[in-house]
């Protein structure tokens, strides 16, 4: 007993003495370590702002988006240095990281890429193309073949600028009309916009006032027009595959109610896509039914997603609803799909009318070994039982996204058809 007590006392005493020794050492070294770490952190900031005399860390006092991890103000007023990261579908869980210096006038003075993990490399010159740009990033072009990574990079720089602008640290630069138009284009016809928010559409020539620019969606879901909107200035008009339109002003407001005339003009400018492809689409739908089924096209269907045709099909006394979509998949290629619903909104047929997995999409060992089983899992689902998670295909994210887009558009179209035809 006595020995046990002695053991406890001795061990406790040694622990206490050691603790005091450590506390004393820590009191001496902690400030020096903190100073060293601050100097090291400043050194990384000085790389992008070599003339800096010191930095004030604004990070704790600001509300930052996920893409901005640090904001430092140069103490003599040269500007700001921001630690930024960006994630794309090619990042594989590791965001690219970079340091951006923005001078007091709101112009990027240096960009230093500190970590790059994307499987597609946009090259060393791309980050440097941002030097000299203001918050409009007007002269920035994306890197062909590396769109996702370069869009992620650009979006992160934009979010860094937004932090400074929202906190009145730098003034926002005015965007040109051309830039405002390119940013508003995706609003009018969301069905032709890819995952990086770029409309995949071909320009059409030969129009006169009030149409100033015209585009046809590559996936046949409609047209986009830039038109002279009178007091609104330039406006963006989207006409879907059924000839139904909507209008947005350049500030992103929906002004459809005030612009019926513009929609009428735009709708008359080009053939209605669903009507132009009626024969082929009708045959595609009819092939899914026994002889005697009556396939009737739906007209004037609303919705601005990737629906390119819709039909009601009467088989005996039963009515079913067929929706053809063309969502954008791998490489922004349109993937044509057919979904047929029964009267209760349950999927009875799901067909891919083009190749499901486009060549080159797989980059890993994972593969969709049985496409038939993959498609069959959706049969019987309704809007309430379907989930986007069911579409996931390991190694083929773009295809999975396209399939999910198809079902979301098809469910929306089914509801609209029910409203139109009952």
């Amino acid at each position: 007993m006595k020995e046990n007590i002695k053991s406890v006392v001795v061990l406790t005493a040694i622990c206490l003495v050691v603790a005091v020794l450590l506390a004393y050492t820590n009191s001496i070294t902690a400030p020096i370590i903190a100073e060293n770490q601050a100097a090291a952190a400043n050194e990384s900031l000085t790389i992008v702002m070599p003339d800096a005399t010191g930095f004030e860390d604004l990070t704790p006092s600001l509300t930052l988006p996920e893409t901005v991890t640090g904001v430092y103000k140069e103490t003599s007023g040269l500007g700001f240095v921001m630690l930024v990261n960006a994630t794309s579908d090619y990042s594989g869980g590791n965001p690219m990281t970079f340091t951006v210096a923005i001078d007091a006038t709101g112009t990027i003075s240096a960009v230093e890429l500190t970590g790059y993990y994307d499987s597609k490399d946009f090259g060393p010159d791309y980050p440097q193309s941002y030097v000299g740009q203001n918050s409009t990033l007007a002269d920035i072009t994306l890197v062909a073949g590396c769109t996702y990574s370069s869009v992620a990079f650009k979006d992160s720089i934009t979010s860094a600028f937004n932090v400074l602008i929202e906190n009145n640290l730098v003034a926002e630069a005015q965007k040109s009309e051309e830039q405002l138009i390119s940013e508003a284009l995706p609003l009018a016809l969301s069905g032709c916009v890819n995952a990086t928010n770029i409309p995949i559409a071909d320009p059409i020539e030969g129009f006169s006032d009030p149409i100033t620019q015209a585009y046809k969606a590559k996936n046949n879901c409609g047209y986009i027009y830039v038109m002279n909107g009178g007091s609104y200035g330039s406006v963006i008009v989207g006409i879907n595959a059924f000839g139904v339109g909507r209008v947005y002003s350049l500030d992103g407001s929906d002004i459809t109610a005030d612009c019926a005339g513009l929609i009428e003009t735009a709708a008359a400018a080009n053939p209605v896509i669903a009507t132009a492809n009626l024969e082929a689409n009708t045959a595609t739908v009819a092939a899914c039914f026994e002889e005697g089924a009556v396939v009737t096209p739906v007209e004037n269907l609303g919705g601005f997603e990737d629906v390119t045709a819709a039909f009601t099909v009467t088989v005996g006394e039963e009515t079913q609803y067929a929706v053809i979509t063309q969502p954008l998949g791998y490489g922004d290629e349109a993937m044509k799909m057919l979904t047929i619903f029964n009267a209760n909104g349950e999927i009875v047929v799901y067909k891919t009318l083009t190749e499901l997995i486009l060549h080159g999409e797989y980059y890993s060992a994972h593969e969709l070994t049985d496409e038939g089983a993959y498609r069959a899992q959706f049969v019987g689902l309704s809007e309430s039982t379907y989930s986007d998670d069911m579409t996931l295909v390991a190694g083929a994210t773009m295809t999975a996204n396209a399939v999910a887009s198809n079902f979301n558009s098809a469910f929306e179209a089914f509801n609209l058809i029910k409203e139109v035809v009952g």
Binding site: I28, T29, N36
Partner: protein, 228 residues
């Protein structure tokens, strides 16, 4: 034992790395460069020297049943002090050594000398033993690092060596090179000492911290056979 002999035995005759084969993990991990090896050696020497002194001072006060926890607390305390000082005053070396600096706590040499020597001897003898063993450890590390860095990178302590630089065998700075260098140096020391070292008694069951828990008879038999 004479003071001079206590100090010098750790350098070659009972070199902790090349003869007693202790501290192999840091010896392999930190010997990719001479600078990191020297830093590790000095850090371990400082801990060994200080812990040997303190443990020797406490040898009569510490009850036998809690001696290992007491030694560990003392050693961990000194390692933490060295770590903090290095972080504050030599941040580059601190970054270079990384986790291996903290792992000095579990370095067999430190606890081994505390258990085998410091707890049975006076403060001055223990200090000399710690210093000698520390210098022996440092020399072994620097020797091994020199071997690896010169052949593997064509440099010594970061200084380029003409000609060799162009014919560097990079595997020597990788893990296999570490084992190769270690084996060669152990063989070299065995040759130099003509098989007279190691003194088996100093690291057999008598001085082993785990002696009470293991099969003493078979263990000692193994040691005897190996030393033959």
């Amino acid at each position: 034992m004479k003071k001079c002999e206590i100090f010098s035995k750790g350098i070659i005759k009972e070199n902790p790395v090349l003869v007693l084969l202790l501290g192999t993990c840091p010896a392999l991990a930190t010997t990719t460069g001479v600078v990191s090896a020297l830093a590790m050696g000095i850090a371990a020497t400082a801990v060994l020297f200080c812990s040997n002194i303190v443990i020797s001072m406490l040898r009569k006060a510490v009850p036998d049943k809690v001696r290992i926890p007491c030694y560990i607390v003392v050693i961990a305390g000194f390692v933490s002090v060295v770590q903090m000082l290095m972080h504050a005053y030599f941040p580059d070396l601190y970054d270079m050594l990384g986790v291996y600096l903290a792992l000095i706590v579990v370095n067999c040499i430190i606890l081994g000398r505390a258990e085998m020597f410091a707890r049975k001897n006076g403060v001055i003898d223990s200090a000399l033993d710690g210093l000698g063993m520390g210098i022996g450890f440092t020399l072994a590390l620097v020797l091994m690092a020199s071997f690896r860095e010169v052949i593997g990178a064509g440099t010594w302590a970061g200084i380029e060596i003409p000609v060799i630089k162009d014919y560097a065998v990079s595997i020597m700075t990788a893990s296999p090179g570490g084992f190769l260098a270690f084996g060669c140096l152990v063989a070299l020391v065995a040759k130099i000492t003509s098989g007279k070292a190691p003194a088996k008694k100093s690291f057999s069951c008598e001085g082993c911290p785990n002696a009470a828990a293991c099969n003493k008879e078979s263990c000692e038999t193994d040691v005897k056979e190996e030393s033959k």
